[in-house]
Amino acid sequence: MPHIEIDGQAIEVAPGTTIMEAAESLGIYIPFFCYHPKLSVAANCRMCLVDVEKAPKPLPACATPVADGMKVATASRKAKMAQQGVLEFLLINHPLDCPICDQGGECPLQDITMGFANPHSHYTEEKRVVEDKNIGPLIATEMTRCIQCTRCVRFGQEIGGIMELGATGRGEHMAIGTYVAKAVQSELSGNMIDLCPVGALTSKPFRYKARSWELKHTPGLCPHCSTGCNTDVQSLGREVLRVLPRANQAVNEDWICDKGRYAYTGLQAEDRVTQPLLRVDGVWCEASWAEALDAALSGLEQMIARHGAGRLAGLISAQSSNEELLLFQALLRGLGSPHVDHRLRQQDFRADAAMPTYPALNMALEDLEREPVVLLCHAFPRQQQPLTNHRLRKSVLQGGKVIAIDSLRRDFNYPVTQLVADAGADLALYEALCSQLSGHAEKADAVPLAHVASDLLAADNPLILIGSALLHHPQAAAMIAQIETLAELAGGRVGWLAQEANSAGAWLSGCVPHRLPGGHTAPAPGLPADALWDADMRGFVLLGTEPGVDAMRGAAALAALQKAEFVLSITQFAGEAKQYADVILPMAAFAEGSGSFVNNEGRLQSFRAAVKMPGEARPAWKILRVLGDGLKLSGFQFNELSEVTAAWQHAIGDYALDVPPFHAFPTLEPVPEPMSADGLCRLGDWSIYQGDPLVRRAAPLAQPAVAKMHPDQAKALALRGDSVEISSHCGKISLPLVLDVRIPMGTVWVPAGYNETAALGATYATCAVTMATLPAVAASA
């Protein structure tokens, strides 16, 4: 191994190590701009020039591998002259507009100039100016400040997996941008802001809000998917001003996705509740906590007295903390109701008994990037778990193979072999794959299927991941059972891609109708979420959820809630709750509360409040405690959050990180085939930025709802124009239509999570698509 010396310090490093890396391990700082440990070496900024003995010219530390006996000086006269020269050149065209630049105070160019530059410049000529292009609502550009380090370009190519920014033009005319004005699409785009060493790319929503040194940093956790990215929540006073990644190589490395980065903007939504609200004679009035709690307690007590606790149900968001989940189910069960659930998007619960103790990946995220063969079952992690997806992408770049089975062709950001089911025939596809694997089917008749089968058989213990979207299928139970068979036939192992930040915690904490905390079987199981809408429930307790858009059958949920006698909604936002609730209790939102989540790996992580709650909002765990106390239930005597956490740990015990992916399957009662002969199969899932109350309200992320259909299908239905009417047995909606060859024939894609699409009911149901009736004037013209 080469022995080298940097600034007189000797070190032995592995061959191939660069001078930059060797210096880093010695704790010697070499200034740099274009170098980044997670990106390829471009060596174009030249800031890292160092003086290497016997080399005639200074060499770039980031791109020069060490050689035995090398003696490097990072601060010799020659090195300093090189650094000063490079900085002088970099600043020739830099506007030096620090006072009006958002990067000021956290700018490597500013810092390195202060530390290494010669204070005088020879340059007196004009500076060049680069025209800005609008690249969407998330990233503000000021391209005159760009120093062409190409970190953003390399990020798109190497990490984001879609190259959107590039360097166009040449020499003095080189500019970084999209060339044609368009919004960047990558779900990881915000990371380019962090990478940009100058103020060329900054956060648009954060623009001119604060200086970096004014901000308070609080370690946070992203509540928007099961990856559990670690964040740095930055706030000023009572306002969260931005969310940045907090490096954790085992979880999110140095990144977060745009959902995690920008969802905080939803905190400012108009319908944020900050005061308890009571419906008095049909009119919403602000109330004190004492009045509101009284109303909540007596509402619950009266409802139970009249109809029995069996007519009360509780639904909680899986973005809730472990502490909240534990207390929530204790409240419902304490009152005598077995109906507790968090799985609002699911429609088939026949396999409940077979479900694992919690949806566990059954491996570390880091190991995912070394998997040679992965089969994704109705999983599109690029939208659902963006940074888990990044691990899979890395495995593919290193030669791994990912195969996906789904209802439509997905837009992965790495090569994936995709098997797409015929309209509504998802279960049949799994069955067909199983018969290929068992050698029962003729090899020739379905070539892609046969290829996939032989890939799986050839692999040593392939990884089979069940996606969160699989659970949304009306035949999910049968599909899961097929996957168990499939895993056996392929000799593979199974992991679950959990949907939400604390789906794992919700299962562990007993927020499912058939399991108690710790995964123990409930003696008298209650009804699952979707069954509640038709079960004549008279009372509901909701926490952090908006069933109108969060539930699989939004319209049915709204109807059931409106019909109920008493609805208590503990929520951050009142918009939907005002349609059906009787009492609304304002709770702490993202960054305002503390608690813990269990991520997809089973990793227990905690977060604490970054800002004070607005107005009279309270942490949900406190609200639950007061309710439990007021209802004279046992097990609610807590003063501090830490006591609830301890109770959680006591109730759950030491849960395993690897859990059996299935328990024994019950006999599955047959359900009707989703597709009838005529009509289209309605595909759809919660869009990336529609999945929870906060992100839905994040204006910079908003994407309008559109229906998608294969161009040939549209032609077959003689659909012209850009707007269509879609009707199912339960409702009718109209949406703009986008043609997309990824949508199979016989289907139409209508996203869920939107008010506009809730009326259509469950996904995979039959529906009809017709041209939207034109407004009268246009029609007569």
């Binding site: 879609i162 190259m163 959107e164 920014l165 590039g166 360097a167 166009t168 033009g169 040449r170 999209t178 060339y179 044609v180």
Partner: protein
């Protein structure tokens, strides 16, 4: 968007490179597209990107890098005056200015009759004849105002030198 003939030529270029190196065929594909279309519009560049299966931005990068690609419609004759060191030291500025006055257009502009476009380009490897310019496939060296006027007259007279 492109003719069968151009598509076949591009396919032939593409076949020269390994399956995962579509980018290598880009220079040729753009040249073929430009020869057919006269210049590279955004739509043509996107089309070529799809054809090769590479991101559109990579096509823009290359197309904007080389002065031989035209991103705007150009005149019948493209006067590409070298402005690099040797030519500059031998008076390329005066050459450009002379042409600009004679034609009544600035750099990158096309005369109203659609005959000439004036461009400045980087070293064309003909430094021994500096100052020089290129029109179509021909180099003209040791330029003087007189030789320029003669050249313009010849081209105006219908000499076909272009593409």
């Amino acid at each position: 968007m492109l003719s069968e003939k151009s598509l076949a030529e591009i396919a032939r270029e593409r076949a020269k490179y390994p399956a995962d190196q579509a980018r290598s065929a880009l220079l040729a594909a753009l040249r073929i597209a430009q020869e057919e279309q006269g210049y590279l519009s955004d739509a043509v560049m996107e089309y070529v990107a799809d054809l090769l299966g590479i991101p559109a931005i990579q096509v823009y990068e290359v197309a904007t890098f080389y002065s031989m690609y035209d991103l705007q419609p150009v005149g019948r004759h493209k006067l590409c005056v070298c402005g690099s060191v040797s030519c500059f030291l031998n008076g390329s500025d005066a050459i450009l200015q002379h042409l600009s006055e004679r034609l009544g257009v600035g750099l990158g502009e096309t005369t109203a009759d659609g005959l000439f476009t004036l461009q400045e380009v980087e070293c064309l490897g003909a430094c021994k004849d500096a100052p020089m310019l290129q029109v179509g496939d021909h180099y003209y060296g040791n330029l003087t105002p007189e030789s320029l006027d003669a050249l313009l007259a010849e081209l105006r007279g219908g000499a076909d030198d272009v593409r």
